[in-house]
Symmetry: C2
Subunit: 351 residues, 2 copies
DNA sequence: TTGTATGCGTTATCAT
DNA sequence: ATGATAACGCATACAA
């Protein structure tokens, strides 16, 4: 069933059929109805491939992420897909893993598929060695690139992100202002946003004129879901004589592990050990007490990212950088807030 | 850059170019090299749309799932995508939500997009009222359909699933044989696999000649991630006088909530309350003690599903139903196994 | 407002 | 082994 068939049955030319298909105004209402009737009766749907060839687009967006089963990335992928589809776009999902070569080849795969754009979910797509980021620059010469939680200044690259520096800073300040200064910063990623969080933690100490202890900044180099490994890691630090009365984690799962550590060592939370997680994921409410955690506004970010994406494809000029402010969600793993207002919420309006 | 350009530069016809592109054997090695050289130099890649039009396929598979941010579904989507891509296929992700109309329209969207097949992740795509499943039968007349964790007998529909009946049964038996008979079965889905789990629980009692108590089978009708709601639900049951010394949950998150309930009511786990979850997800290791949980072999299922899919598309005859056995992973929320061997593992070899 | 003719970049069927 | 040519199904510039 093609437009030729429809055109014959409706007694018009294929051009007219094509016009009603594309909502072209230059069709007599009467003719339009006639054609639509035939289409309806035949259950006609246009051939997507032919359409793609003619328009050089199939309204498809590539979604690149390291691991769509990761708690945080899965949420992001979900929000992005829903927003894209609401906007009339399809999503091709591509899980890349964390190796540069795989990220490159995945991106090329999407380019060869002729997607209209690709959104790269997670700051792990930006390499430390800037020369390695050429694969992004190359791609940006073909289609607009949307980065989620990364900051990359380049034409045709659009970034939507959370101000992790400030969010981590405020989280640390809230602990400091509660009287805790031996705060262990626990992280498992050195990506762009990972570095920002760390810098935020550090700046909190500077801001309060407190010394920074290297030993209190611990990088866990293990599996992304290895709670027991993290727990054992903390125990090892403890046995090595490291003393800390709070843990600020770069991800909820690290905080969850810290809570487990506390329980195994009979530490009261938050009295003996305060814990703050990051992402405000489902893990935060799965434990007892529930995790205080930084909400990094993922849903807002995704909505805005897709808005920017669609507008860009429509030819509108859009800002290349949109930043949301995170906010601390206080729950059971930290002491109730005092009168101190240093850690007050400072939410910027969405761009 | 098209095959015309390449053909000119290589001094051959477009037919020859197309042949080397598709690995056709009828090309003199010398000619092949010449053409490949030109392609290399020009960085030529074939136009995917034209290719799709010609072959009536773009090697794309639709992945339908209610919510790709759900812990379990996210894992499934991840495994499926990776396996598909390794097999040379792209994945279009489509999150449908749980409404029938949305599932229908999503499936149609994929059909119009001319995917080669669609995999429906989760038994929630099979409706209770069988007439409502016509949308699946209709789709199956166009392309092969792959169902994950659903059982639907129809031509061109292939099912890969876990034997949830037996898995739930064994989980229940393990509790009964540990001396606990007031086992609360807590579930939040009445889908096909949801009903199977429930039936498995029930059959365990029959098998041990124990009476079944309706009050001990509780359906929680709330959000899929609402730990606190579930926890409150259990508390309500408790206050209503319901007594139970074990909880068998149809999902880890329900079990997590049960653990939280235990902690809030100062119940020792597993001494006062045993808990078994389902899915063996990351939640199982995020709590203290860790959850005993049923592993439903998701990774194996996904691998097999994709294998079946690709073979089917290749024209090979494949079984329409492949069943894996689940297995109980014992951790801290149940008593250590006794000498009793009723709940021993009985793992079937993968099909 | 409608129709004609051509292009889009492949694949595939014939010849040669 | 290679080449000429016709599909594939739609969009669109141009003509009427």
């Amino acid at each position: 069933m093609t437009i030729y068939d429809i055109s014959k049955m409706a007694g018009v030319s294929i051009a007219t059929v094509s016009r009603v298909l594309n909502g072209n105004a230059n069709v007599r209402p009467e003719t339009r109805r006639k054609v639509l009737d035939v289409m309806e009766r035949c259950g006609y749907t246009p051939n997507a491939f032919a359409r793609g060839l003619g328009l050089n687009s199939m309204n498809t967006i590539g979604i690149l992420c390291a691991d769509s089963s990761d708690l945080y990335l899965a949420k992001a992928v979900y929000y992005i897909e829903r927003n894209l589809r609401a906007g009339g776009y399809h999503s091709i999902l591509c899980c890349t893993g964390y190796e540069l070569e795989d990220k490159k080849s995945s991106l090329n795969l999407l380019l060869n598929q002729k997607v209209d754009s690709v959104v790269m979910v997670g700051s792990n797509f930006i390499e430390e060695d800037d020369a390695d980021n050429d694969y992004i620059r190359d791609a940006a010469r073909q289609i607009p690139l949307m980065l989620l939680n990364a900051d990359f200044d380049h034409p045709n690259v659009y970034c939507t992100l959370c101000d992790d520096f400030k969010a981590a800073q405020e989280a640390a300040l809230s602990l400091i202002d509660a009287g805790i200064t031996d705060i262990l910063y626990l992280y498992n990623s050195r990506s762009y946003s990972g570095q920002n969080k760390l810098a935020g933690y550090q700046s909190a100490f500077l801001q309060r004129d407190l010394p920074l202890e290297k030993d209190l900044q611990q990088y866990y180099d293990g599996g992304h879901e290895d709670v027991d490994g993290i727990c054992a890691f903390l125990t090892r630090l403890h046995h090595m004589g490291l003393s800390f009365h709070a843990v600020l984690a770069s991800e909820d799962i690290l905080a969850t592990a810290a809570l487990k550590y506390a329980r195994l060592h009979d530490l009261r939370v938050p009295e003996d050990l305060s814990i703050i997680g990051y992402n405000n994921s489902i893990l935060a409410s799965c434990c007892e007490p529930e995790l205080t955690s930084v909400d990094n506004r993922l849903e807002d970010i995704c909505r805005q990212l897709v808005k920017t994406l669609i507008n860009t494809l429509d030819g509108n000029q859009m800002p290349q950088k949109t930043i949301f402010s995170g906010r601390l969600i206080r729950r059971g793993t930290t002491l109730p807030e005092t009168g101190n207002c240093h850690a007050a919420e400072r939410t910027l309006p969405p761009a």
